[in-house]
């Protein structure tokens, strides 16, 4: 390899140019400038985002940061006291927290797969229907999502009523003795799980239907030409291509299940005993009944970390490989 020899003037010019390039490169890597330039360039977009950003900071970011700060304090109205990790130690030593965590995990592990899979199955069934029927079922299945959980819980409480509830009425047809669904430790949590499973996952159905609509029909045609039947097409085309939607829905329903609260407070109050105690209900009781805001914040932070870990695991397992 031959090297081109430059005269001293040219060498000086090249050196100066390189120095200039390096300076510009360094300049362009200065983050604030880039961010500032970007903001200046897209100021209208940032202006549109500003109201939402202010609301986010006020009502989400600030409370989260405040909760973390509180979790290291014993909250008092006349001046809180910093107590280090005492609240966290109390959380991990607490029998009530352990029971609530166990119940919440069981609730999540059963309801999340059931909700997501049932949403997928219902979506597949609806997708093949005509436009009008599809719209009807889409609306019908989405209805529970826009209905207050308080109302739904009240209706289900009646359905589980020992004396005149719907479930015991059906059981009586088969000569089965009535069950005290919400009054026995053995059945109370399962009654709540069954309720959550049987309420259609409206958001999931809508999202699956939208995603199915975007799958190219040519893939199915090619599969049919290759002799793949409907089941093979479903498992080898539909399911893999819906993976990003599935990931999103699993994350969404996992977070929702970990935060189960309304059904508990409306239907069982965590009882009988502690059989239906869940994490958010425990946090609520600790904060607003026992007024131990520091401890409640520590419980909330631990719940946040648990959800985060679950989300990371789900993301890694289900992420869409490019």
């Amino acid at each position: 390899m031959t090297q081109v020899k430059l005269d001293p003037v040219e060498q000086a010019t090249v050196k100066e140019n390189r120095l200039q390039d390096t300076k510009e490169l360094k300049k362009s890597h200065k983050k604030p400038n880039r961010v500032w330039q970007d903001m200046k360039k897209n100021y209208s977009a940032y202006l549109f985002l500003l109201p939402k950003l202010i609301l986010f900071v006020l009502f989400v970011a600030f409370p989260v940061v405040w909760a973390i700060v509180l979790s290291f304090q014993e909250y008092r109205f006349n001046g809180s006291i910093f107590i280090g990790l005492d609240n966290y130690i109390a959380v991990f030593k607490s029998e009530a927290f352990r029971i609530a965590l166990k119940n919440t995990l069981l609730f999540t592990v059963v309801t999340v797969p059931f909700s997501v899979i049932s949403a997928l199955v219902i979506s597949v069934m609806i997708f093949g229907l005509g436009k009008i029927s599809q719209s009807f079922f889409r609306s019908a299945f989405y209805l529970p999502s826009v209905t207050s959980m308080v109302i739904i819980a009240m209706v289900w409480r009646w359905m589980y009523n020992y004396d005149f509830g719907l479930f015991n009425y059906f059981l009586s047809w088969f000569g089965v003795e009535p069950i005290n669904w919400l009054g026995q430790s053995a059945t109370a949590l399962w009654a709540l799980i069954i309720m959550s499973c049987l309420i259609p996952f409206g958001t999931g159905i809508i999202m699956y239907l939208a995603s199915m609509g975007s799958i190219s029909q040519s893939l199915y045609e090619a599969a049919r030409i290759d002799g793949a039947n409907s089941i093979k097409q479903f498992f080898h085309i539909t399911v893999p291509l819906l993976k990003p939607t599935t990931l999103y829905l699993v994350l969404l329903s996992t977070i929702g299940s970990f935060q189960v609260f309304t059904q508990i407070i409306m239907m069982t109050g965590g009882g009988p005993g502690s059989s239906t105690e869940t994490l958010v209900h425990l946090i609520y009781k600790t904060g607003f009944r026992d007024f131990e805001y520091g401890l409640a914040s520590a419980q909330a932070v631990v719940l946040f970390v648990i959800i985060l870990i679950f989300s990371i695991i789900q993301f890694r397992v289900l992420r869409h490989d490019e």
Binding site: F77, L182, Q184, G271, G273, R289, F291
Partner: protein, 445 residues
């Protein structure tokens, strides 16, 4: 001269020391009392629904008092926030957490809305400076005690409640069962009555009416007088020891649970958590599936009004102790922290006294199913035309108050959640109270 100066200095110093010690001991009793007439502004008061007027407005009593007070005090506006009773505790809890409390709210200080911790932290204002000795002397001692902590008064009591047994006399008549004479009975008599009142009305082999029912839920004490029937209490006198595991208490708990588990004289829902459903089973004309239930005195008003029932008031049955016991409660108005605004404090206290006067407590007693906390209101005989309320009032001397421990809410939950397991047959009373003891002992440490 030097000696005299030395002596004077010493005297002054000792006088100063004595004065400062006296000031410290007085605990702020010489706090500046403002002038209510000087205050101009808004006072916020929360209240729950009370008795309805002809337009079914359940806030009409307080609204009329507000209008009267505002007319007499120019520049003062009183804002009423209507809060359903079921939400009062939660709403107060959230408002205390956010330090956005009202000026006045109706609170049973031993309940779950406001704790002793809050008093210690200054969330609730002491009221001693606004009530004279003579004014205080007009309140029943136990009512004042309920609102006193560490020698100071933290509220104006406006009502006393207790629990009674309510007996549906139509069902007694239908079964030919004689109700207890003067409402007094032993547990054995109660048990026999409950069994006699349990029957299959239509002959389909299923029980249609049960003798007795109640519910078990943290913060509710309808069933608790049964647990006191042989003597005993949840904590010992100096609140250092859990005593509900005493064999006589354990036996009393098991006896009541056995009404369902062994005697079949109570429905499956006995000891459940459905408060509304339990009341409907006794009071609703379309149900009437339970003949006897224990309730606080508000239910007497309800059974005379919204749910007209042919009923009588009875005492809780007696056990080994031979004495009937009931759990009592005291309601009243609290003033929340006013941030050193002395004039506003005085105005708020003035309004609290205005709505807690002898006449107002008399009116409340007549219409709202509570007993007055003022002796002068009771002297006006609010129940002379209401024999059921008068009978309930006679039970005032049987009242036992719940222990006033700072951790009571947690202790209560530890006991009540275990009681739920006894009543659904998952644990014996002995096992349940032994398990409750483990939790309560930790809380009492």
């Amino acid at each position: 001269m030097k000696r005299i100066w030395k002596k004077s200095t010493l005297l002054l110093a000792s006088l100063g020391l004595t004065a400062s010690m006296l000031a410290a001991c007085s605990g702020g009793s010489n706090e500046e009392v403002g002038d209510a007439d000087e205050f101009k502004g808004t006072i916020t008061i929360w209240d729950g629904p009370r008795w309805p007027d002809e337009d079914d407005n359940k806030y009409h009593w307080l609204e009329s008092k507000i209008a009267e007070y505002e007319a007499a005090h120019e520049g003062i506006k009183i804002e009423l926030v209507q809060v359903p009773w079921a939400e009062m505790g939660d709403k107060l809890g959230v408002s205390i957490a956010g330090q956005a409390w009202p000026d006045i709210a109706p609170v049973d200080i031993s309940g779950s809305s406001v704790s002793i911790d809050h008093i210690e932290q200054g969330v609730v204002e002491p009221l001693d400076a606004y009530l004279t000795k003579e004014e205080k002397a007009d309140f029943y001692e136990n009512a004042l005690d309920a609102y006193s902590y560490d020698g100071k008064l933290y509220g104006i009591p406006n009502s006393i409640t207790l629990h009674t047994m309510l007996l549906n006399l139509d069902l007694f008549e239908e079964r030919g069962v004689t109700p207890p004479e003067n409402g007094k009975w032993t547990y054995a008599e109660f048990l026999k009555t409950a069994k006699d009142l349990t029957f299959d009305r239509d002959g389909d082999g299923k029980t249609d009416v049960y003798g007795f029912s109640t519910y078990i839920l943290p913060g509710y004490y309808e069933a608790w007088p049964f647990f006191y029937k042989n003597g005993g209490s949840p904590l010992n006198e100096d609140l250092t020891e859990f005593t509900f595991d005493d064999p006589k208490v354990v036996q009393a708990i098991q006896d009541l649970a056995d009404l369902k588990l062994k005697e079949d004289a109570a429905p499956e829902t006995l000891g459940g958590s459905d408060v509304g459903g339990t009341f409907q089973a006794w009071a609703n004309e379309e149900q009437r599936t339970v003949a006897m239930e224990p309730w606080a005195t508000w239910a007497i008003g309800s059974a005379q009004g919204a749910y007209p029932t042919n009923f009588m008031v009875a005492e809780y049955p007696t056990g080994d102790s031979g004495e009937s016991v009931t759990i009592g409660g005291v309601g009243g108005w609290l003033m929340f922290n006013q941030k050193d605004d002395a004039n506003k404090k005085a105005a708020v206290a003035d309004f609290m006294k205005f709505i807690s006067s002898t006449e107002e407590q008399f009116t409340m007693a007549q219409h709202y199913g509570i007993f007055p906390a003022r002796i002068s209101s009771s002297d006006m005989e609010p129940f002379k035309d209401n024999p059921e309320m008068a009978r309930a009032m006679e039970m005032s001397d049987q009242v036992v108050m719940l222990p006033r421990h700072p951790e009571w809410k947690k202790i209560d939950e530890a006991i009540q959640t275990q009681l739920q397991l006894v009543f659904n047959g998952e644990k014996t009373a002995e096992q349940a109270m032994a398990d409750a003891k483990k939790v309560v002992d930790e809380l009492l440490k």
